[in-house]
């Protein structure tokens, strides 16, 4: 397997794997936030803010994979 084949196989796969992790993380974040809002609806605004920040942090991991793909795409 040469570099081209490895890259063209690995880049999409890498994004997919990163997306799996981010997806699980986002699901857990959403679950926690929904439960918290359900228990304490008056704190919705605060919970939502924290949820969005943590969701952005979790989502960033996939974005890093995405950026890496675009950095390495020129070598294919």
């Amino acid at each position: 397997m040469d570099l081209h084949a490895a890259l063209s196989l690995g880049l999409p796969l890498g994004i997919g794997v990163a997306a799996i992790g981010s997806g699980i993380g986002l699901g857990l974040i959403g679950q926690g936030a929904m439960q918290a809002i359900g228990r304490q609806p008056e704190a919705t605004a605060k919970i939502q803010l924290a949820m969005i920040i943590i969701a952005a942090l979790a989502e960033a991991l996939t974005i890093y994979a995405f950026v890496t793909m675009f950095l390495l795409k020129g070598k294919i």
Binding site: L49, I52, I53, A56, E59, A60, I63, Y64, F66, V67, F70, G74
Partner: protein
């Protein structure tokens, strides 16, 4: 003026002609710029514009001559202004004829006249008895519409087939795999096309003449169009090279103008633009103060609010046709993140003092364990501080760039869905993802600024707050 125009049948007809010609001319000019040469599209658009202005001036000149304002000084003045305008218009027309391709200019000039003829013909047709006979019966109307659609389909196919054979540019690459070229331009016209997500490198990298630099794929924007239209002009190259800077400065300029207009004549009871801007500013101010705290918060609202509005505008700018999101480039996001980094460190130095800043970096050691852990905490904190700008910039860039790529991919998919008739139309598949892009743009702007405000919050002195809870902590800040 407008009230009379609505009552007057002829003027209303002219207004409708104007609307139709504007839309039609814009669409045809875009198509010409995409499928033929950008210059042809430019010339066609200029021709339509010239003709429309000509019609408008004619109307301006004729209405006072025959309307109720006839003979009054006001009417005479209007006629004079219109005639003067026509003089300038003819001079501009001569310049345009010398500069641009005359064929496209003349056909653009003919378009409003053609619209007038077609509209008049349809008016006559709509009043006629035969038309009424067709339309009033449901089955007959449906059959007629079906026949019309079929005839249009085949006529269009034959027309575009015939048109695309002799012209060496403007070939719609037929029936290739979906990822591949939608439009393979000839020379020169190089990057002025909707380049598809993948395989665009192979599709557009073929121009033989100039070995142009690597152009990232995306929707074509106004600067790329200009650069394609004037491939040998130095200013076009300059613009294309600094395209992102030009767009971000343009956005800054727009925001400046809006802010200036909104605050130029402040009223106690605001209305219109001032009202909207005040709403935005108050909302942002309340939002950031709720994060940082009522004591320290107001100081940082200008910086954070500016950041938010600027990033949001830059994110949304790419959704406007022929514009480009500056934040879809790593250069802009790194610049923003570096600004935030420097600002946060500056806040730390100013608020905590050099020793306090070092203390913060050491993890605020207060007991033996803390001092023992300090050598480990220092590199961790430094790495953490350095990671902040990287993550901020990469997140913003990745999200906006990915969003644009998604739109491009689906737009090119929509274009390649109808390859069998060689019709230069597509299905706007990407329209489904516009709401997603809007949401993502707003969310990413918010995430960037909220994280910035949290970094600022972490840098502010806050050690003694913990036992008092939030309200006491906010009170304690001075």
């Amino acid at each position: 003026m407008r009230g009379r125009a609505v009552t007057d049948m002829g003027l209303e007809f002219l207004a409708r002609v104007r609307n139709t010609s504007t839309w039609l001319g814009g669409v045809i000019a875009l198509m010409a710029a995409t499928y033929a040469h950008p210059l042809v599209g430019l010339a066609f658009g200029a021709g339509v514009l010239w003709s429309l202005v000509n019609l408008q001036l004619l109307e301006r000149a004729i209405v006072p001559l025959f309307g109720p304002a006839r003979g009054t000084p006001e009417g005479t003045r209007r006629v004079g202004i219109a005639l003067l305008g026509m003089l300038f218009l003819f001079a501009a027309g001569a310049v345009l004829l010398a500069l641009l391709s005359p064929t496209a200019l003349v056909s653009g000039f003919m378009l409003p006249l053609a619209v007038i003829v077609v509209k008049a013909a349809t008016l006559i047709l709509l009043d006629s008895r035969a038309w009424g006979g067709i339309v009033n019966h449901r089955w007959r109307a449906g059959l007629a519409a079906l026949a019309l659609a079929i005839v249009t389909w085949f006529a269009l196919g034959a027309l575009t087939n015939a048109g695309s054979q002799p012209a060496e540019h403007a070939t719609v690459a037929p029936g290739e795999s979906a990822g591949h070229a939608t439009v393979a331009p000839g020379e020169g016209a190089g990057h002025a096309t909707v380049a598809p997500g993948e395989g665009a490198g192979h599709a557009t990298a073929e121009p033989e003449g100039e070995a142009s630099e690597e152009k990232e794929e995306g929707f074509t924007n106004i600067i790329a169009l200009l650069a394609g239209a004037f491939p040998h002009a130095a200013w076009a190259h300059f613009l294309e090279h600094y395209e992102i800077l030009v767009f971000s400065l343009l956005i800054a300029l727009i925001l400046l103008v809006v802010a200036f207009l909104a605050s130029r004549n402040p009223q106690l009871i605001p209305s219109g633009l001032q009202n909207g801007v005040e709403m935005v500013v108050e909302g942002l101010s309340g939002f950031f103060i709720s994060i940082i705290g009522p004591k320290q918060g107001p100081r940082f609202v200008p910086f954070l609010g500016t950041l938010f509005i600027y990033i949001l505008s830059m994110n949304l700018f790419g959704l406007i046709p022929f514009m480009h999101s500056p934040t879809a480039s790593l250069n802009v996001t790194v610049a923003l993140a570096l600004t935030v980094f420097v600002y946060v460190q500056f806040i730390g130095f100013k608020e905590l003092g050099p020793l306090g800043w070092l203390d913060h970096m050491l993890g605020s050691p207060r007991d033996l364990t803390g001092w023992l852990l300090a050598p480990i905490m220092l590199p961790i904190h430094i790495l953490g501080e350095l990671a902040k700008p990287i993550s901020l910039s990469c997140r913003l860039f990745g999200n906006i760039f990915g969003e644009d790529m998604l739109l491009v991919a689906f737009a090119s998919l929509g274009v390649t869905m109808l390859p069998f008739q060689q019709i230069p139309f597509g299905i706007p598949m990407h329209a489904l993802f516009f709401p997603l892009a809007l949401l993502g743009s707003a969310l990413q702007a918010m995430v960037f600024t909220v994280l910035t405000s949290i970094y600022i919050l972490l840098m502010l002195p806050h050690e003694h707050h913990d036992e008092h809870g939030h309200e006491a902590g906010a009170q304690h800040a001075h």
